[in-house]
Symmetry: C2
Subunit: 147 residues, 2 copies
Amino acid sequence: MPSEKAIFNQFIREKKLKHSKQRENIIDVFLNIEKHMTLDELHGEVRRQYPDISFTTVYRTMKLLSESGLCRELHIRGGITRYEHVYGHTHHDHLICTVCGSCIEIIDLDIEKQQESIFVANGFIPSGHNMELYGVCPVCRKDRDIQ
Amino acid sequence: MPSEKAIFNQFIREKKLKHSKQRENIIDVFLNIEKHMTLDELHGEVRRQYPDISFTTVYRTMKLLSESGLCRELHIRGGITRYEHVYGHTHHDHLICTVCGSCIEIIDLDIEKQQESIFVANGFIPSGHNMELYGVCPVCRKDRDIQ
DNA sequence: CTCTATGCAAAACCTTTGCATAGAA
DNA sequence: TTCTATGCAAAGGTTTTGCATAGAG
């Protein structure tokens, strides 16, 4: 299984783009954090380690990473974009607490199968999907004394 | 089964708000279009029939409609907000063509059940969910000669 | 050398808000 | 009268782009 870096380098080569220190650094930072990060948060982390990298470069690098298939843009509740790792991660959905914002990754093969059959039944060629479940998590439920 | 207007009037009363010609008109326009509309598109339609209604009023009215449970904000691909009818419509998910943008409504009870059990298994109190499936529809598939 | 990457600033976009005035109850 | 609703313009927040300069191949 090739490393994420190897995949990105392959992608750069195919697209006839160039290597750069900044891209290397941004990718390192991203790959080392498993959380879903906004561009602002990501830029904050990047700048802590590499103070001279601009927001714009982080923006453009994350676009490239998305294109290369190494990450995915998440749009929870239609709010601002967050990025999540894709490579080496089973496809998963999200269970989100509307009170504290915590996010649990859900892997459900039954739903995946069912989704597949919806595509087939409608003659679609699948390219992706996303599912978010919203509710109140056990902790917030206690805090708020909901049933 | 009370009409949508009746429900909205009830909502207005409970919230101690007031009736207005503009709200009436906006709701009429919205209820007569089954498509998922952006605020801009909706405002365009509204203005065709009622040229003096402002974007802001459409915006605020749609927020009220959402609150009242008559419509729902859709965030497809995290892009701009669209509004869809809720009242009298079974909960459904969306199958979206990434080429032409067409959108098919999907009702799948198996998936609904499975979602319910995910909430229960994680101790969540459900408040809602959404699922979008993306792919290439049969028409675009032919146009592009994909397999 | 030639073409891409970067950083800055500014633009673009959509969504939301403040405020003075109009209108409902 | 006393609220709320409206329209306008302007602010906010995020995402995108133009352009001059730096840097990779």
